[in-house]
Structures are given as C-alpha cells and as structure tokens.
C-alpha cells in the first residue's frame, strides 16, 4: 500500500494512536504540529491555506470547507464550530474509525478550524450508538485539556477555545446539519429550512455556525503541516487530496480505504486486491450504491468512473459520504429496495408531510409486494407517491442498452431536507432497471432470482 498516500488514516495501524503519547510519537510529524503551525500565523492565513487547498466537505454535499468558512457574516459574534460526528448514512462507517483510532487528529482539526474562524466554542456531536468512539474522544479530550492543548491560552498563546462533547440520541436525521443544531439546542432533531436558516449565518442559538464533518476536519493537521500545494498534488485537479470510502456488501474484503480523489475507479475498489478484492464467490456485479443509502444506484456500466463529485453527479448519483454498497447477481432487488426504503421511513423525523406520510406509504406498498400481495397498479402508484416527494425526473444512471440517458443529481424536493427524496433513490433506481423483478413478485408471488432468499 506504500504507493497510496495516507493523510487521515496514517495512524490507523499504530495500536495506541488514540492516546496523546501515541499520537505524538507516531506519524510523519510531531503531534499537534499542525496546530502549532496554525498558531504561528494569523487566523486569516490559516483560512487562506485551507481555501487554497480546496478541501471538499466529506459529509455528503462536497462543498469546499474554506469557502463555507467565509460565509460567516463579518462582525457577528460569538461563532461556533459544530462537528458532525453523527455518521449514520446506510453503509457509512469511516468517521467512526477516525474517531476511534485517531481522536487527537480530529481534536487538532477542530482547534485549527476554531482558530481560523474565531469560534468561541466547538461542539463535537457524536452519534449516540457509537459508544466506543465517544469514550475514545472523551479520553482524548481529557488528555488534551490536561496538556493545555484545549481550553484557556492554548500552548501559551492567547487563543482559547473549549470543545464540548455531545452524545446524540440515535436519530439518522440529526446527521442533517440543521437538525443536528436543533438537537444540540435541546429540541427534537428536525431540520430547519434553508434559507433562512443557513448555519453559517443563523445556526446554533441563531449565531454563525460552521458545521463540518469529522473527516473534513481530520484533514486539517496534515494540510497545515504540509501546505496546500502538497495537498493538491494528491488526487485530481478539481478534487484534491484523499478520501475515505467504506465498501460493504458483496465484495470479498469489505472495509474503509483511503484513496486519492478522482483517480481510483469503482472497478479498482471492487476488484483490486488492495481494496475489495473481487465480488463475493466471483459472482457478477448487479448494481452498486456509490455514495450511501441516499444515492441513486450505479450499474456495471459505471464501473470505470473515477470517484469524483462532479462527474458522478452528472452521471445521476452522488459521492455522498463515501459509502459504497455492492450488490451481486444473487441480490433480490425488491428486498434490497424495501430494506432501504424502510430505513428512511423509520428515520423520517415527521416534520414534512410528504416525507412523513410518503416514505411509510412506500414502505407499506413495497412490503406488500415483497410479501406476495402486490397489485399490478402498485408499481405506478409507487412511482407517483415518490414523485410527490420528489417531483419531476429523479436522478438516475444511464442505461445504454435501453437508450435511456442519465438524469443528473440532485433531485427536486417538496420537503425541507433530502431525507424524503432519498427514499426515492432505491425506488427509481430499482424500478427503472429491474422492473420485471417487481412485476414477477406481483404476478407470481416469487422473486428473480430465487436464490436471493439467502442473500
């Protein structure tokens, strides 16, 4: 793996990297060197380095972090940084590993970001189910406080910031930044409408708030140590650096891999021995989800695409949170679709009518089809129910054999946040490509292929 640059996962093989001593001792530079480098310059210069590096957000939307930081209205204080550690997109588990294996790298990233934007406080919101990550971060924070790396007059400078660890209560929707802010404020985790509630302007307690993903912030120490030019040498021109991808499903070696952005293709990820190592039982690939459960599906035609935001979006899906789910030829598409839709129905926060009622309706129809009680009208009803959540053509990959063109990402929506429209992704993807499987369930009450039952 020596030819693959490792930025955020460089210490994953070091057994005690999660301790301050381990963090300091390991890696190519001394621990917290990035922070010291930042403190030696002005906040503005730090922000400029990050902007120059074109560090794209790793939470899903892929927005440049440096640009996002610049959206804080000038002269409005206090400002906050909120770390989105509520990783819960189906298939995604990269942030969990980052938090468990290298919490100090994240803390250092938080401090650099707080210094750059002048944040008074950092709130680290960790998903409720990730008990181990919470413990590791809590322990790391205690060490960092004791070492005067967090708190008052950090490293003897006049820079002071507190980091508050907050444990979520187990709701997928809280991964959406405005819902996360509501949850932090002590309310039900329900998204706010943007506009007017763009967090950078009106966020936590209606103050400017930057919400960054765990992986995004974990890149900062490396960038500050090595500079933006070094960062841009990795990856492609428009998507510099590396990114973590979590590959799961029907590959021989599922796992989290750090890959250079815009270079590695899906074929590499699934078949290369450094990554997935091939499809399970050497079966044929049937479909794959390129960017978490919310992403429209890709098919073998898209295997040679590199993982890069813009082309993947144009091809009808998204890189999202870097979760890739592989489905081989034995997969029951009705069941796969039902499984994903059920997730969104269960996780709908209940705020917007179309999502609250629509996703559970979709689930009920799919469940009925799966149970063998479908009606011929169900397929069109399903598509129209979905259309009322996400009106108009829904993003979907091209199907050259049928002469169907791709519909680019993102979809339209009648809801505040993308959760409802996300439930449409599996429906549109599966029905466009595998409609006969659904019809077979409805008319014959069984699945194609039959062996899917044990998939």
């Amino acid at each position: 793996m020596s030819d693959v640059p490792r930025i955020v996962s460089s210490r994953w093989d070091v057994p005690d990297a999660h301790t301050l001593d381990g963090y300091r001792a390991s890696g190519g530079y001394e621990g917290y060197a990035g922070l010291r480098a930042a403190l030696a310059t002005s906040p503005r210069e730090v922000a400029d380095v990050v902007k120059e590096a074109t560090l794209l957000g790793r939470g899903g939307a892929g927005f440049p972090a440096g640009v996002k930081w610049g959206f804080c209205p000038p002269g409005v204080w206090p400002r906050y940084i909120v770390v989105n550690g509520d990783e819960s997109e189906p298939g995604t588990y990269k942030d969990r590993v980052l938090m468990e294996r290298d919490p100090h790298q994240l803390i250092e990233g938080c401090l650099i970001a707080a210094y750059a934007i002048g944040a008074a406080q950092v709130f680290l919101y960790v998903r409720g189910e990730m008990a181990h990550a919470q413990e590791r971060i809590a322990a790391a924070l205690n060490e960092a406080y004791a070492a005067n790396l967090v708190g008052r007059n950090i490293c003897g400078t006049d820079f002071s910031v507190d980091i508050v660890l907050h444990w979520g209560a187990g709701a997928y929707i809280v991964g959406e930044e405005t819902a996360l802010i509501e949850s932090l404020e002590g309310n039900r985790g329900m998204p706010r409408l943007k506009p007017p509630f763009f967090p950078a302007a009106k966020g936590l307690y209606m103050k400017p708030t930057i919400v960054n993903n765990v992986e995004t912030l974990s890149n900062l120490p490396w960038i500050l140590c090595n500079g933006s030019d070094a960062y841009k040498e990795i990856g492609s021109d428009t998507s510099p650096g590396t990114r973590l991808v979590a590959v799961s499903g029907h590959v021989k070696k599922p796992g989290v891999f750090e890959i250079p952005q815009g270079v590695t293709t899906y074929r590499d990820l699934f078949y290369d021995d450094r990554y997935g190592g091939g499809i399970r039982d050497d079966n044929e690939l049937k479909a794959f989800i390129p960017g978490g459960g919310s992403a429209p599906w890709f098919f073998p035609e898209q295997l040679d695409m590199a993982l890069e935001g813009r082309p993947v979006g144009a091809a009808g899906s998204m890189l999202g949170s870097g979760a890739i789910v592989v489905m081989d030829e034995t997969t029951d598409m009705v069941k796969a679709c039902l499984r994903l839709v059920r997730f969104f129905a269960r996780e709908s926060c209940g705020k917007c009518t179309p999502c609250r009622e629509g996703t559970s309706w979709e689930e009920k129809i799919l469940q009925r089809i799966y149970d063998g009680h479908g009606r011929p009208s169900d397929v069109d009803a399903l598509l129209d129910v979905a259309d009322n959540i996400s009106p108009g053509p829904y993003p979907v990959a091209a199907w050259e054999a049928e002469g169907l063109a791709a519909v680019p990402f993102p979809p339209k929506q009648t809801t505040i946040c993308p959760l409802g429209p996300s439930s449409v992704a599996p429906i549109t993807s599966a029905l466009r490509r595998f409609r006969p499987e659904f019809e077979a369930r409805i008319t014959r009450g069984n699945s194609i292929p039959l062996e899917a039952a044990h998939g």
């Binding site: 709701a171 929707i173 039900r188 329900m190 409408l193 007017p196 129905a345 269960r346 996780e347 709908s348 926060c349 209940g350 705020k351 917007c352 009518t353 179309p354 609250r356 009622e357 629509g358 996703t359 559970s360 309706w361 009920k364 129809i365 009925r368 009606r375 009208s377 009803a381 129910v385 259309d387 009322n388 959540i389 009106p391 108009g392 339209k412 929506q413 009648t414 809801t415 505040i416």
Partner: protein, 805 residues
C-alpha cells in the same frame, strides 16, 4: 377560514409578479400573507399569521423564481424581495397540493359526520378545493386510543391530527406553557402530553380554535352543534377588562361557543380559557329568572311591577342615606342609565363601581394614557406595577410576553412576590407591601429604565395594601419629569366604562367633575357635593347611616377586601336592592332582587382598560323575565317621577355621545365601522395628589400579607361553568421556604393567620417565589380567606402565622 393576516403598513414597497400580475408588497413580508392581502389565497395548514412559521405541512408550496430559476418554496417562510416571480397555480403546484392532501388523508379517519370540526374544517375545505378526489391508499390506517383528555377542557384525537405543529407551537411560543409536544417520529409521530403533566394552560382553548382538523376538541362544545347550525355575532368578552373580541355563537337560542376574533390592537385572536368557556354560565340553569321580594325571612318570586315599586319606594328617601355599589358588570349604556338615576333623579353621589380593590377614579382619569399597543411598542420600556397579569388579565399577559420575547421590549416588574410575568421580565424587583413608591423612586434613580418614554402598567398587586400606597407610587412617576404614560390594570370588565359614565363619586358622565357640572345633561337634579366611595359607603352603612344600598351586580361579601365591614354594612342597611344574574352571598341579604339580563343577552358597548369602546351584541334572549339593567333604571326613574325616552341601548349610546364630551365620537355608526373599537378621548382631569401615606415600619415579628387574584379563584360566573369550575382550587398561604421552615412546616401544613383581632385557618405551602417577610395568598371569596382579616382602613396588613389550627 376566518384567520386573516393582520393589517400592515407598506413602508418599503417592492414589486413582485404574482400569477402574472405585478403587485406591490411590503419588502420582507411573508409571501403567503402578501399574496393573501393581494387577493390570492395560498392554502396552508401549519401557517398561522400570529405564530412563527415552520414550513412543515408543505401545503403552501408555490413556484418562485427569485433570479435563479423557478423552484418550489414554502410561501409561509419566504420573504418578499424585489422582482420575485411567483406562480401559485401551475401544474406542478397543483400536483404537489394534491399530493400533500392525499398524504394527509392517508391515515385520517374521515369521521367527518361525527367530528366537531366537520363543516368548518380546513382539511375538508382544502380537500374539496385542492385535493385529489380519491385515495389510492390500500393499507391499514394508524390507530390510537381516542379521545384522550389532555386537560380539564381539551380532548385530543391523534387519529385526526395532521401534525401541523400549531397547538404545540402555540403552547410553547405564545402561551409559554410547553406542555404538549411531538413524540416519536416518522409516521408514528404524535402530539401528546407527558404522563401526569396535563395541558394545564390558561390558554389551552386557543389550540382547539386553531387546530385545522378535529384533533383537539373542547369538552364544553363537543357534540353540541354542527357548525352550519350556528349563527354568530361579534362581541367583546367581559370576563376581564382586556376586552378580547370574540364571536358569540348560538343555536336554537342557546349560546354554545365563543371564538377568539383577531383584533389587532387587543387580543390577536387569543382568548383565555376562563373567558372562552364562560359561555356555559349564560344558559346556566341557576340564573335568576324573575324578580324576588323579601317576605319575612325568605325571598319570594314577585311580579316585576311589585318588585320595581318596592325598589322605588326604598329609593325615595333622603338621598344622602342612599348608596349604589358596583356597575362594572354593566354595559356603558346601563352604567349611564344608572348614573343618571342615581345622581340625576335620586340625587345621591354615594356611587362607586369599584369595590375598594381598585384605584381612585380621578387619579385614573388624570393620568396620560397608553394603549396596549403603545405599552407593548417594539423596543420600548415597560414598568409593570400591578396584579399578576397571567392571573387577572391573561391576554394582556400574552401581549406583554410577546413584546419582551419577540419585540425587544424591556420590562421591569415591581411586585411583592413572583408572578407569571417574572420569568419574562428584564428585571423583576421585589418590594415590601407599602413601599411601592420607594421602589419606583429607586428604579428611576438607578437609571436602568433608560432615557426613552416609560409605559407604566398600573394596578394593585394586592388588596391587602391600600390603594393610597399605589397612588403614591404613581405620583412619583408623574413627578419624575420623564415621559410617562399609563395603562390601568383594573380587572373588572367594564370598570373603565362605569367610571366614564359617572358611576364613581364626584364624577359625571364623560370624564367630567361633578363640581364643574354639565348643562347638556338636562337631569332633574344633581348631588350638591361629592359622595362616598365604596369603603366610605360600607362604613356608613355599617354605622347605620345608609338606609338603602343598591348592589349593581356587586357581591361585596366576596369581592370587598374587608369582609367583616361588608357583612356589617349588608346586615345594618335597612333595604338592600340587588340587580344580578345569579344569586350570590351578598344578595341573599337583599330585600329586593331584580333579575338582570347578562352577557350575550343585551346589546350596547363596553370599555376596556385602555378606554377602548367596543360593541356588545345580544345573541340570545334573557332567561325568564330577566330584564336589561338600563331598562330597570329607567323603570325606577319613571316611578320616581322622571320619564326617559330611550327604547333601546342604541338610543342610550346616542344620548351618551350627546352629553359625554369624551364619547362624542362614539356613535353606533362609528362603532359599526370600527369593530376594533374607538379609544375615547384623552382629556386628563386635574388630580390633587394626597399626602404620601404613612406606612408602618416593617417589624421582624410580622409578615406582610399579599392578596391577589388567581384566574380560577372563585367567581360567580366561574362557579356556574361546569367545565371550568373544577379548576378552582382552594387557596393556600404561600410562604418563603425559610419562613415555612421557621414555622416547623418545611413541607407546608395547616396554619392560623392572625391580624389584630381577626384570624382564619388555611393550608400553607412553601413557595420559593415568595420572599421572606411576605405571606401571599390568592383571594378566594370565602369567609376563611384573606378578606377575613384585611382592614379596609389600614395601609398594609400585618399578619402572624402560627402552625396548627
């Protein structure tokens, strides 16, 4: 729907294109309101113009192009900006509306035939206007236990609920009582209360009114009528002096419901529960339905002519030995007729509409006035010195709370103990009863009030400290050299109107002094000199100087602060005449009881605490042979030799406009044109400030009594409302925890409260909101409450509290 966006003044016009037509709107106004003002109604469920938008029902989505191509936007959260192009009826918008309605109906039980809301239901109406016409739903609907009583008066049906967040938002944001919440999530989301924590809000009834489906229903109205069988008139609630506008709805001559009407200067559509559900008393089966005359020890039914003859006979004697108490329940017209009878025909000035628990009328008329809107002005400074507004003037409390939380007003509260307002106050200062003037002076000197105008809400936090101490505080403000205006916080419904009509010593109708006279009145006579106020009247009666005492809807035994004095007065006076709608403690002593028509049975006008005159409309006929108060006055006048020509309240309204200078503009035609009412002219009287009251020094032995009113204390009307009456709780003595501990009762217990030679026994409870040195208790009108020990002549009431009974 009756809900309309409140009117706004367009100060910063921008042009938007609405369905192809350019319209001028206010910059920053919400699109949903701007469109409605321009004549285009955008359907909605969650949006309510008196609450912050949440944009969650998605019914108001429209296509908007603000420069970056058309997109679907919730019009309830979008502020108008220049050159916005809005399409409210495109195919896409219609598809989305159909979709939302189909979704909302999926799990809705469609039990419209037995739903109270059926016929006035936004979900029904929108389904008719924008809905898909049929459902494709084949699955089982959601089921919940129903209905669930979430409070004494409100029932919840979660199957009907469409989760619009209106009730929950109202409870949290408007009422400040976050007791109902969303629970669970996704399709299992439901509205509910926490166990053992009912929706015990003084404002819960508003959620029933704003619920866009029949999910919340009011116990007093459930299954009483179909909306299309109701007819309504707009009127003003006379439960207190705020004067909330309401619609009085009846069917088959029975009042069945009050609904809040959005009066922008007053109540914004909100009504307190006590007011909303007080309609139950109107048709109550214990109303006085016929006159009664005392025969020996008992009151027996009489013919009107006999009762009126008896009353007139008792009013023929020496005018100085005749007195009239009360009148704040009356309409302005009846108050005028009674002032005319008393002062112009009988010739006595012993008249007082207040019952020793208010402030001197001449002081009130001398103070520069502030309306509610002026008091609650955005960014303004409010000084609150009065009763707990949440308990006594609930909707004024909502307005003050809104001013602080939403409009950046700074509110300074001076109170002897915590009130409902305390948690919203910028600063809440405690003063020892008797020391209000010093507290005001201290606050002024401290500079915290800033340099701008000060709006003072002025009333009496406690009837156990004399009005004179509050007068002193008012005079400090008047003499401060600052720009100070006042909003009187007197509780009784039409006390301001009664004073304006001359039901107060030394005054004539139209805010005129008796000493100045008024030639245009044309009354046969006028009292030669000023008479007694309520305390003076009761003292004189107790001393045997009053032969005939008229109770104009007054119950001094329950309401006068000094019950012992009231009792002696009622038993000593030779003849007591009572005009009332219900029997009460006081009129059991009466010799003549005249059955009066009550609210919703007589038309006329009423005046709220701002001096705002609004129209009252009769909706049903009075029970039995009960008569309007004004016509009883005229009947008695006729028996005393003076005939007045009026045939209706409108004739009296015209007469008032003719003779009362302050009311010259208040004509029936003007009121028809101004449903929000007319604020009567500010023409301050001169007021000679009395010498500052001598208040005894605080001793370390006694506690000072604070006696205010609670919303559900006792009250005749409340007692006759079967749904609300159970909310009345026995009053307890509230002590600072340290005081309670000193008594050996850290968790409360039975105590005897002693003041001079009087005492009563009650339960005491520790309350951290009460400072040390204070004993606080709500009046409960009973013989074993604070009025048992308050001395009307004392400046403050010092008490000793002893454990045990």
């Amino acid at each position: 729907m009756a809900e309309k966006p409140p009117p706004i003044e367009v100060t910063d016009p921008v042009t938007i294109t609405l369905d192809g037509t350019p319209v001028q709107v206010q910059r920053g106004d919400l699109l949903i309101d701007a469109a409605e003002r321009a004549g285009t109604y955008i359907p909605r469920f969650c949006y309510h113009s008196r609450m912050n938008p949440v944009g969650m029902c998605r019914m108001c989505l429209v296509e908007v192009d603000a420069g970056r191509g058309p997109s679907l936007q919730p019009s309830c959260m979008l502020e108008c900006s220049p050159d916005m192009v809005v399409v409210t009826d495109s195919d896409l918008v219609k598809k989305v509306q159909e979709g939302v309605l189909e979704y909302l109906l999926l799990n809705h039980p469609l039990d419209c035939p037995v739903c109270d809301k059926g016929g006035e239901c936004p979900l029904q109406d929108h389904t008719m206007a924008y809905g898909p016409g049929e459902s494709r739903w084949l699955e089982e609907k959601r089921h919940y236990a129903k209905p669930v009583a979430i409070s004494e008066t409100v029932y919840l049906d979660r199957e009907r609920c469409i989760l619009c967040d209106r009730c929950t938002r109202f409870a949290k944001e408007v009422a400040g009582d976050p007791l109902i919440h969303f629970m669970d999530r996704g399709a299992a989301t439901q509205v509910n209360t926490f166990p053992d924590d009912p929706f015990a809000s003084y404002f819960s009834g508003n959620t029933v009114q704003i619920c866009p489906v029949g999910a919340l229903t009011a116990k007093p109205y459930r299954f009483k009528a179909r909306p299309w069988d109701l007819s309504e008139v707009e009127s003003t609630c006379t439960g207190c002096s705020v004067g909330c506008r309401i619609a009085v709805q009846s069917s088959r001559n029975e009042v069945l419901r009050y609904m809040g009407v959005d009066s922008p200067p007053v109540n914004w559509g909100w009504v307190c529960d006590k007011g909303r559900f007080s309609f139950e008393a109107v048709g109550g089966n214990r109303r006085l339905t016929e006159p009664q005359v005392r025969k020996g020890d008992v009151l027996v039914a009489a013919r009107w002519s006999d009762a009126l003859d008896a009353a007139a006979a008792a009013l023929r004697g020496d005018p100085s030995r005749i007195a009239v108490l009360g009148g704040a329940r009356l309409t302005n017209e009846a108050a005028f007729a009674w002032a005319r009878l008393t002062k112009g025909v009988i010739g006595t000035d012993n008249v007082d509409a207040q019952l020793g628990d208010g402030l001197p009328a001449e002081l009130l008329l001398s103070l520069p006035a502030a309306t509610i809107d002026q008091t609650c002005e955005p960014g303004g400074t409010i000084l609150y010195l009065g009763p707990d507004p949440k308990e006594e003037l609930p909707v004024l409390f909502l307005r003050l709370k809104h001013a602080v939380l939403e409009d950046r007003a700074r509110l300074f509260e001076l109170a002897p103990a915590d009130t409902g307002l305390t948690r919203y106050a910028t600063r809440s200062l405690r003063y020892v009863p008797g020391a209000a003037a010093a507290a005001v002076a201290g606050l002024l000197a401290g500079g915290e009030l800033g340099d701008g105008p000060i709006r003072v809400v002025l009333g009496r936090a406690s009837v156990a400290e004399s009005a004179a101490t509050i007068v002193d505080a008012a005079m400090v403000l008047v003499g401060s050299g600052r720009e100070v205006t006042f909003l009187p916080a007197l509780r009784r419904a039409n006390v301001a109107g009664a004073i304006d009509m001359g039901l107060s010593p030394a005054l004539l109708p139209g805010r005129q002094k008796l000493s100045a006279g008024n030639a245009s009145l044309g009354w046969p006579k006028l009292p030669a000199e000023g008479g007694l106020d309520a305390t003076g009247i009761l003292q004189a009666a107790a001393d045997g100087h009053i032969d005939t005492l008229v109770l104009l809807g007054a119950d001094p035994l329950a309401d006068f602060p000094d019950r012992a004095l009231a009792e002696r007065a009622l038993t000593t006076a030779r003849t007591v005449i009572s005009l009332d709608t219900f029997g009460n403690d006081s009129n059991r002593h009466a010799d003549v009881v005249l059955a009066a028509a009550g609210f919703a049975e007589v038309s006329g006008t009423t005046t709220n605490l701002e001096g705002r005159v609004t129209a009252l409309e009769a909706k049903v006929t009075p029970p039995g042979t009960a008569r309007a108060d004004w016509s009883i006055a005229n009947e008695i006048a006729e028996r005393l030799g003076t005939e007045f020509p009026e045939l209706s309240p409108a004739d009296l309204t015209a007469e008032i406009a003719r003779v009362a200078p302050s009311h010259a503009a208040v004509t029936s035609a003007a009121l028809d044109a101004a449903p929000d009412g007319i604020v009567v002219g500010a023409m301050p009287l001169t007021y000679e400030a009395p010498e500052p009251t001598h208040v005894p020094a605080v001793d370390s032995y006694s506690l000072r009594l604070v006696a205010g009113r609670s919303l559900y204390g006792t009250g005749t009307v409340l007692a006759h409302c079967p749904s609300s009456a159970p909310l009345a709780k026995p009053s307890v003595l509230r002590l600072a925890p340290a005081e309670a501990a000193r008594l050996g009762l850290p968790d409360g217990g039975r105590v005897r409260v002693v003041s001079n030679d009087r005492s009563f026994v009650c339960d005491a409870a520790p309350d951290p909101g009460v400072p040390e040195g204070i004993a606080a208790m709500y009046l409960d009108g009973s013989a074993s409450g604070p009025t048992a020990i308050i001395d009307a002549a004392a400046a403050v009431t010092e008490v000793r509290v002893e454990a045990g009974s």
